[in-house]
């Protein structure tokens, strides 16, 4: 089961560029310009939203081409997830 889960991750990882083949954005995840265009105004709350400065906005890294950016973003996420559970496990075993 353990080996197989790594096979799944590897296959998905290789397929990642398929995820940026489309220019369509998700419904309800629009840029503010969308509201200006459709409604003629941008709702106050959306205009003044808290803005977290994400280091890799929309899975892009400055200076890298989109496919490489997407691969690196995927790798960063996977590493953080494994890191989180590993640290959590260490913490639990220290507690016991």
């Amino acid at each position: 089961m353990k080996l197989k889960v790594f096979v799944i991750i590897l296959v998905l990882f290789i397929l990642l560029p398929l995820g940026i083949m489309t220019d369509y954005s998700a419904w309800g995840e629009w840029e503010t310009e969308f509201f200006q265009k459709v409604l003629g105004f941008v709702p106050e709350g959306i205009k003044n939203a808290i803005h977290i400065e994400a280091p890799f906005p929309d899975y892009t890294l400055k200076g890298f081409n989109p496919i490489v950016s997407y691969y690196i973003s995927g790798l960063i996420g996977v590493v953080l997830i494994f890191g989180f559970f590993y640290l959590l496990k260490l913490w639990i075993s220290n507690e016991r």
């Binding site: 998905l12 998700a26 309800g28 973003s73 997830i81």
Partner: protein, 221 residues
């Protein structure tokens, strides 16, 4: 389905934070019980699966796109509480690092794609596995993401009613339920739910042997 910052009124996200904190605390307790040397690679791996599958955007007719979420797999292999925490972690990483989904909306996104999706998957499978295991797996995936889209549609669609200026101009998400429910729920019923269902069947069939399949959804919640 990742609601960004600015779409939800404080009247929505403050109670959502309040409700989700005890849920996170309880879920984390469950997760700590599940996590050991044996489960660590599988749990990390399936959480990574959820993260990666959310990156595979699928375009649909009408000019929008979406993706599967992988929650049902986590819920059936482990249990719904563990799936809830794992998917919430994925959503937090997406919000903080990639600007995908907001930080004010994180609890709502977590309740939708984490909590609701995992419990719907779990009970759908439990109910239907007596009839047919493959069908039950597919339906667990399908119903989990459809239910989660329904919840998101409700939360977004009530914004214009609860938050507008004296002239009636919406302050946050501007479209009401008549628009959000069909747009979100139908697209998930027709496309992303089917994708979720297929992924759930494929991944679980690949990971478990038939004997193990019998034990799915029998983990304690």
């Amino acid at each position: 389905m990742h609601i960004p910052d600015g779409y939800l009124s404080p009247e929505t996200y403050i109670p959502a934070y309040a409700i989700s904190i005890p849920l996170f605390a309880y879920g984390l307790k469950k997760l700590k019980k599940t996590l050991n040397e044996e489960t660590l690679p599988l749990l990390s791996g399936l959480t990574a699966f959820s993260f990666l599958i959310m990156m595979l955007n699928i375009p649909i007719p009408g000019g929008t796109s979406g993706h599967a979420i992988g929650t049902a797999v986590l819920s059936l292999i482990f249990n719904p509480w563990v799936a809830f925490i794992s998917v919430s972690l994925v959503l937090l990483i997406q919000a903080l690092l990639f600007g995908d989904g907001g930080i004010t909306s994180w609890p709502i996104n977590s309740i939708a794609m984490g909590f609701i999706a995992s419990f719907i998957a779990y009970y759908s499978y439990k109910l239907l596995s007596k009839i047919n295991k493959n069908l039950a797996l597919f339906f667990a995936g399908w119903s989990s993401i459809v239910a989660s889209s329904f919840f998101i549609a409700i939360v977004l669609g009530i914004q214009p009613y609860i938050a507008h200026d004296p002239s009636g101009k919406p302050l946050f998400f501007p479209f009401d339920l008549k628009i959000t429910v069909p747009a979100l729920v139908f697209s998930h019923m027709l496309y992303f739910g089917v994708a979720e269902g297929i992924f759930t069947v494929l991944v679980i069939k690949f990971l478990t042997k038939n004997k193990e399949l019998l034990r799915l959804a029998q983990n304690e919640t």
